[in-house]
């Protein structure tokens, strides 16, 4: 059964949409990631216009982050103060991102920038995760290894506007989380992701937050960033297709259940290693498409 997506203006088999949601939902349940970085390229691959894919995925991430954050809130794993500062940065960044998106779209370079952002950020994050998990796996096989220092001080901690974050046990400058929030917000708006895959490592390695609160806090601020993207894209480009978002979410909810159950069977560093390979695989595919000569060097786009 085909369904005509009113905003994307293409028809797609309903089984493909729910299947995509389910498959990506399974992986996000398995690895504990949002899955936007998989879903947006897949939607584009299946013929959804890139602008619609990015904006619609933002809408879907609002839903998946809400359902994800509730469990973390119950366990008290959300630092609302830190989340609030990151959110302010994120809302500013994503607003800039939407403006930038529209500009790049008007000069015909949005596809290129989306692809390049994916290649660069997935490449960096994937490589870091892979080396980290391989190192952990090797270290766990050699007993008696030395533990590194938990918290290191550097010049970033000398910035003004210091604030106390009780839940994260931190006393750091608010400029740091504001900047990180803004930077990830720009990427979220352009790439159609929540940005958790950048936010989480940044929270751990740059802010020095305890790992127990990073996922909950990241999800908390992603809700507001993606909601902001949804609203601004709706107003500026009318590219949010909530029929598509709803169907993807339906599949994702079911997929995530199975994924999180399957995740129990694997060890943390093994999961991270597999996720790293997945991230690098997506990065390689998008990078390859940029390098190979297109079948036709000319392309058309209907303007309205």
């Amino acid at each position: 059964m085909y369904i005509y997506l009113p905003i994307a203006e293409v028809s797609m088999h309903i089984g493909i949409i729910i299947g995509l949601g389910g498959g990506v939902g399974f992986l996000s349940g398995l690895f504990g990631v949002g899955g936007g970085f998989l879903m947006t390229p897949l939607l584009i691959f299946f013929g959804i216009p890139p602008a619609v894919a990015v904006a619609t995925e933002a809408n879907q991430i609002v839903a998946s982050s809400v359902s994800g954050v509730l469990a973390h809130m119950r366990r008290g794993n959300v630092d609302f103060k830190m989340g609030g500062i990151l959110m302010i940065g994120g809302v500013i960044g994503s607003s800039l991102g939407v403006v930038l998106f529209k500009f790049l779209q008007s000069i015909g370079q949005i596809d290129l920038v989306i692809s390049l952002s994916y290649v660069v950020f997935l490449g960096i994050i994937g490589a870091l995760m892979l080396t980290e998990s391989v190192r952990t796996i090797i270290r766990s096989r050699r007993p008696g290894a030395v533990r590194g220092k938990l918290h290191q001080h550097n010049w970033l901690h000398g910035l003004p506007l210091k604030m106390r974050f009780r839940r994260s046990k931190l006393y750091i400058s608010a400029i740091l989380p504001l900047t990180i929030g803004a930077f990830v917000g720009i990427l979220a708006a352009i790439m159609g992701v929540g940005g958790g895959f950048i936010m989480v490592p940044a929270m751990i390695y740059l802010l020095g937050m305890p790992t127990s609160v990073v996922v909950g806090t990241s999800l908390f601020q992603i809700i507001f960033v993606t909601a902001n993207v949804t609203l601004l894209q709706s107003i500026q480009t009318q590219t949010v297709d909530f029929v598509l978002a709803g169907l993807l979410l339906f599949g994702a909810v079911i997929g995530a259940q199975f994924g999180s159950r399957a995740g129990v069977l694997l060890r943390g560093e093994q999961l991270r290693g597999l996720l790293a390979l997945l991230v690098l695989g997506v990065c390689a595919k998008i990078g390859y498409d940029l390098i190979i000569r297109p079948e036709d060097l000319l392309s058309v786009e209907l303007l309205r």
Binding site: I3, S11, N59, S64, A227, V240
Partner: protein
């Protein structure tokens, strides 16, 4: 004549099967009465309103009609959709990757343009004869505005050479490039040998509308050729509209975009909450 066209309209869908005897009698009468030129021509289509509803996945229409033909006559059928500006871009390899380096905008191009013919177009009439009746991509005389340019050295073939901002008529090569790209996305097509005729009286052709069909008003034109000369033509209308829920959502998103955005957020938050509740219980 009136009786004949009424008959044809009645026979929507499967015209050849409908009471052939009555039909033939009508045609014979009609040929006796109308032996003098110009010849008569009627055309209709199985649906003149196409609704894009939530389950729309492309559709096929039957274009049919009757003409006063002789052996060796030809028909050309042209389906033209609403005009739209179209951006065309050219890629070049820069630092190892393929990037758009040049954009030009075609002015008011038919967003949908399908041509059907009984034979190859060049067998039916000369290029000039086709131009005179306005059939074929060259007859559209499409104009373009050159945009930001990366030199325009014509690597991809057909890159405009005008200075930025000037409106020029597209050359044959440029129009051919546009044709190829538009055919690639299924919006333009040329189907020769795709009109079937019966006894030089009846014709039919299948028009497949793709799932990305632009909405708006369509013009369908049938031209009757004899010995390479157009002897009569007939035009009929069709429109394609979004309808039902998909039309409602589209209008909501475009006319009340702020509320649409807020609605999409509320919808997402609510369904996320519901999903979490269901997840927790199981």
């Amino acid at each position: 004549m009136i009786r004949l066209s009424a008959l044809i309209c009645m026979a929507k869908g499967n015209i050849f099967a409908v009471s052939g005897a009555v039909f033939l009698a009508g045609i014979m009468l009609f040929s006796v009465l109308a032996s003098a030129a110009p010849t008569r021509l009627v055309a209709d289509l199985s649906e003149s309103h196409v609704d894009i509803t939530s389950d729309y996945h492309g559709t096929e229409l039957l274009l049919f009609g009757a003409y006063e033909g002789q052996p060796g006559d030809d028909l050309i059928l042209e389906v033209r959709g609403p005009a739209s500006d179209i951006a065309q871009r050219r890629k070049e390899q820069r630092a190892g990757i393929w990037v758009n380096v040049e954009t030009w905008v075609w002015q008011q191009v038919p967003s949908f343009y399908h041509i059907f013919a009984t034979r190859q177009l060049d067998e039916i009439a000369t290029r000039d004869a086709l131009m005179n009746v306005g059939i074929g991509r060259s007859a559209l005389e499409l104009k373009l505005v050159a945009g930001e340019s990366g030199g325009g050295n014509g690597h991809g073939g057909g890159a405009p050479t005008a200075t930025n901002g000037a409106i020029i008529v597209g050359t044959e090569a440029q129009t051919a490039d546009l044709d190829r790209n538009m055919q690639g996305i299924g919006l333009w097509a040329k189907q020769e040998n795709a009109i079937s005729t019966q006894q030089d009286m009846l014709f039919r052709a299948n028009l497949a509308l793709p799932s990305n069909v632009p909405s708006g008003d369509y013009k369908i034109r049938v031209v009757h050729f004899r010995g390479g000369v157009a002897i009569s033509e007939r035009t009929t209308d069709m429109n394609v509209r979004k309808a039902g829920l998909s039309a409602l959502i589209y209008r909501f998103a475009h006319e009340y975009s702020v509320f649409y955005g807020l609605f999409a957020i509320v919808f997402a938050v609510a369904s996320g909450w519901l999903a979490a509740a269901a997840f927790r219980r199981s």
